[in-house]
């Protein structure tokens, strides 16, 4: 696997054209709520017969990297993320838009994605084998610990009330239990609706909770449109480079999140979604002034973006070296490899080294292309904010319905989307953070399978959660992160109590 050969192969005109096409498709599909990168990659599968493995994979990587980046653009612009990772970015991106800084938010968003993808690829080439060895040690108990660690970031997603964040997170966990029990096969919370046995997938849920709920909310209050005028947009340069100050301010955030994201991406089954939330949560926990997050802190945009794009690169490691897909998109890519007579796994590097190096090359070039194409598109994207809300909301609703259905072709997903939309409306009304809910939904499955199988692999002993070093360390960090805010809160209250007696909180 030679990165230079790979880049060379990707830079061939035909391949570069496909990559460019892939990036554009990915940006479009990723940005429109409802049409996710998974849909785009799945739609490309039939073309792989014609294109051949190498060309098809290069194109898919373009789509994958671009869609991973774009999944959060709509999150920042309209609070309507198209994918889970966008739900983390929207926390700070959307407030920035409301403050009239949409251009700044999305150019940083794109920059962080590109940097994350780039660092991720470099890490992939340099230290992947070592990382992989650790990643392989990740058994069920470690996944359980990781999910718990992810859940501690619920606190960082709170909008004021921690209790409401916890309630939302727990409700998310409850939603994750709907469907067939992943281990025993028992039917849970299906209430006689047979198609619900497939469980609640998080894409329909997210589209409902964010996009649909946002539209309901805007209509109910008669507000709407981002409130941007043509003049506002003209102020943003044609090629919207981020400001040097922002880059300096977030450079360590980018690096940290890229490292973290890359590792999480390598864990089969965790993928970019968990990476985005962990990246965000870590950044909030590490910040000296966590209170700024959720109100338009640029680091809150950078952290999840760098993490999830780096994770996208990381997810190629288990795919290429072991033939293990880490998420939905890589699972589809695995299918494409196999359909073309290639079998990803330890022998791929021996049997088809050119494919492996093309993958690395494509990841790297795609990150660069996303950067340039993305920044060129900033003004186009901002123009979306000037569309009258009546027209915009109609379009989004249509895409939401079409996109939700297109992922799994399941009618039930439409009902899930609609019901989540209504729930999301009320959640917004009463200030429950839906991102905490989504986190619970995403992590619930991972935690459950990790816990049950963790006990299974030790033949029924619970000690495994305290004897495996990584599990214990992760659980300890989780506990620490959990207790720290409480400690600070208590201390703050004491200080305040010393100043002037405050009203007891209700409930």
């Amino acid at each position: 696997m030679d990165l230079l050969t790979g880049i060379g192969s990707v830079l061939e005109p035909f391949h570069l054209l496909l990559l460019l096409g892939g990036v554009v498709i990915g940006l479009i599909f990723g940005t429109i709520p409802g049409l996710s990168g998974i849909t785009a990659v799945a739609l490309l599968v039939p073309f792989s017969y014609v294109l051949g493995a190498e060309a098809a994979i290069i194109m898919m990587i373009g789509v994958y990297i671009a869609a991973t980046c774009a999944g959060s653009l709509a999150g920042s612009l309209f609070n309507m993320p198209g994918d889970v990772m966008g739900a983390a970015t929207a926390r700070d991106g959307y407030p920035l838009t409301q403050q009239g800084q949409a251009g700044r938010a999305i150019s940083m968003d794109i920059t962080a994605s590109a940097v994350g993808g780039f660092i991720g690829t470099v890490l992939l080439v340099l230290i992947a084998p070592q990382f992989l060895r650790i990643a392989l040690r990740f058994g069920p108990p470690e996944f359980f610990a990781l999910a718990i660690l992810g859940m501690t970031s619920v606190a960082s997603l709170a909008m004021g009330s921690l209790v409401k964040a916890l309630l939302a997170g727990t409700f998310g966990l409850l939603l994750a239990t709907v469907g067939l029990d992943p281990v025993s096969g028992a039917v849970r919370f299906v209430f006689g609706v047979q198609p619900l046995q497939g469980g609640i997938d998080f894409i329909p849920a997210i589209i409902g909770f964010f996009a649909v709920a946002e539209i309901f909310h805007a209509l109910y209050y008669g507000t709407g449109s981002g409130g941007y005028s043509k003049e506002d947009i003209k102020k943003v340069p044609r090629f919207a480079l981020p400001s040097i100050a922002d880059l300096k301010w977030t450079k360590w955030t980018m690096l940290r999140s890229s490292l973290l994201g890359n590792f999480i991406g390598m864990l089969p089954g965790a993928g970019s979604t968990v990476a985005a939330f962990l990246g965000y949560g870590t950044e909030v926990q590490m910040a000296k002034d966590p209170s700024k997050f959720g109100k338009g802190e640029i680091r809150g945009v950078v952290a999840p973006e760098a993490a999830n794009n780096s994770a996208a690169a990381g997810s190629m490691v288990p795919l290429l070296t072991l033939g293990i897909p880490g998420g939905a998109v890589t699972a589809i890519m695995l299918g494409v490899f196999i359909l073309n007579g290639l079998r990803p796994g330890p022998l791929l590097f021996r049997d088809a080294p050119e494919i492996a190096s093309s993958v690395f090359g494509a990841l790297m070039v795609a990150s660069v292309v996303v950067f340039f194409v993305g920044l060129l598109l900033v003004r186009v994207l901002l123009r979306l904010l000037t569309i009258p809300f009546e027209i915009f909301s109609t379009m989004v609703l249509v895409f939401a319905v079409v996109g939700t259905f297109a992922i799994f072709n399941r009618p039930i997903d439409l009902w899930i989307m609609l019901i989540c939309g209504v729930l999301g409306f009320f959640a917004k009304q009463y200030e429950f953070p839906v991102s905490a809910l989504v986190l619970g939904l995403v992590l619930g499955d991972i935690a459950e399978i990790g816990l049950v199988n963790g006990v299974n692999v030790t033949r029924g002993s619970w000690g495994i959660f305290f004897t495996r070093p990584f599990t214990m360390a992760t659980l300890a960090i989780s506990l620490l992160l959990l207790l720290m805010p409480i400690y600070f809160a208590v201390q703050r209250r004491r200080e305040r109590a010393a100043d002037a007696p405050t009203r007891e909180p209700v409930g």
């Binding site: 025993s184 198609p195 089969p268 072991l322 799994f408």
Partner: protein, 410 residues
């Protein structure tokens, strides 16, 4: 434009979304389906006929059918010998023309594209099977096949959806062993075995019991000896819920008066990394998925899961059946339709898929996935009989071991 009554506006939007959703839910109930068939099938999914009496009698066409299959085999042989032009890229070639000639076609069918529901995601085993067998089937049918991946609940979401569609032969599904197991455990509001029309079964079991290369057990018997002395201590992983893996282990355990610790992982990724990391001892997995790890020397086989020995992997390793242990279920894939579909259409589809599987493009795929050794072909009638046998056997095992089928019912 000022929004005057926000509540009214809100209601209008909710209703229009509802309408959109409702349109989606109805999917495409056939517009040109035979009158009468349509409405009833869509209304009562599942319990079309509870008793065992099924579509059954194909006696009169029996002799004919053998001739048709012989003709198909003959054409396939000619293609193999290069006597008939075969070009998978074209709409029709000599081979396809000859097959269309040989296969008796029901009148007016197929008059439009046929939808195949796949109960698993893109790129998985079921998806690969369906799309590969569909490649030439599409050409023989002269109609497009629309592949509709509808994952969830080990294939049951797709199957449940199939029962809500008109039984006109324009919606069929590809099914796997899980469907019979779920039927035996009585999880679903319908009965797979009783309520579908079986079209064709085309694939067989290719599972192997693997261990990590450095495992101390040399043979399958070593592993069984250890398991017999230490009940529940041998951890075996297989695919997720409602899979054949667990029942094979139950049967094996009952034979040696012991139990295995079964650790199901939903994705192949989790299973493989658990084996390599030593979290589990034995992996019960399709040969095709882990071939590379085997060739790379990271894992080695202890025994073949069914009754087939893979000559190209290691002819010296025994199969579980050779060793004299029971194998309650195979792992097959096949095509089914709603139970009310006309038998003539079922027979026609059987012949089309049978023919497609004899042609080079599907055969190449089978070799690629090591499915060619497994065989597994059964015609509709045999498929149904075998599914019934498997269901009875699994139900008996589930009862014997108190597999918590009770908890499965709401």
């Amino acid at each position: 434009m000022r929004i005057r009554s926000k509540t009214r506006q809100f209601a209008v939007v909710v209703i229009s979304v509802l309408a959109l959703v409702a349109c989606g839910s109805d999917a495409d109930v056939a517009d040109d389906a035979p009158p009468g068939d349509d409405g009833t099938a869509a209304e009562d999914p599942g319990d079309t006929e509870g008793d065992d009496g099924d579509t059954g009698d194909t006696g009169e066409t029996g002799g004919n059918q053998a001739d048709v299959l012989a003709a198909i085999d003959e054409i396939a042989a000619q293609v193999e010998a290069g006597e008939l032009a075969y070009d998978p890229g074209s709409d029709a070639d000599e081979a396809i023309e000859a097959l269309r000639e040989a296969i008796p076609q029901p009148e007016g069918y197929p008059g439009r594209p046929i939808e195949i529901l796949i109960g698993f995601g893109e790129g998985g085993g079921s998806d690969n099977y369906t799309r590969n067998v569909g490649r030439d089937a599409e050409r023989i049918l002269g109609q497009r096949l629309i592949y509709n991946n509808m994952p969830g609940a080990s294939g049951e979401v797709a199957l449940g959806h199939m029962f809500t569609q008109a039984a006109d032969g324009y919606t069929i599904a590809s099914a796997i062993t899980n469907q019979v197991i779920n039927d035996a455990l009585d999880i679903q509001p319908y009965s797979f075995v009783d309520d579908v029309a079986f079209i064709i079964r085309q694939q067989g079991p290719t599972e192997i019991y693997w261990v990590a290369a450095d495992n101390e057990w040399e043979t399958f018997e070593d592993m069984l000896d250890y398991a017999a002395e230490n009940p529940g201590q041998v951890r075996v992983s297989g695919s997720g819920i409602g899979s054949d893996d667990e029942f094979r282990l139950l049967a094996l355990g009952s034979e040696i008066d012991s139990t295995f610790g079964f650790v199901p992982f939903d994705g192949v990724g989790g299973r493989i990394s658990a084996l390599l990391a030593g979290d589990i001892d034995v992996l019960h997995e399709t040969a095709g998925t882990v071939m590379d790890l085997y060739e790379d020397g990271q894992i080695r086989p202890l025994a073949y899961g069914g009754d087939i020995v893979f000559e190209d992997i290691d002819p010296d390793i025994p199969s579980v059946a050779d060793l004299g242990y029971p194998v309650p279920t195979g792992r097959w894939r096949g095509m089914v339709a709603p139970g009310d579909v006309d038998q003539e259409i079922i027979d026609y589809l059987h012949n089309v898929f049978y023919a497609s599987a004899q042609l080079p493009s599907y055969k190449e795929y089978e070799v690629e996935f090591l499915q060619h050794v497994a065989g597994g072909y059964l015609n509709g009638e045999e498929f149904e009989a075998e599914a019934r046998r498997e269901r009875d056997e699994i139900a008996a095992l589930a009862e014997e071991f108190g597999y918590d089928a009770g908890a499965l019912q709401e």
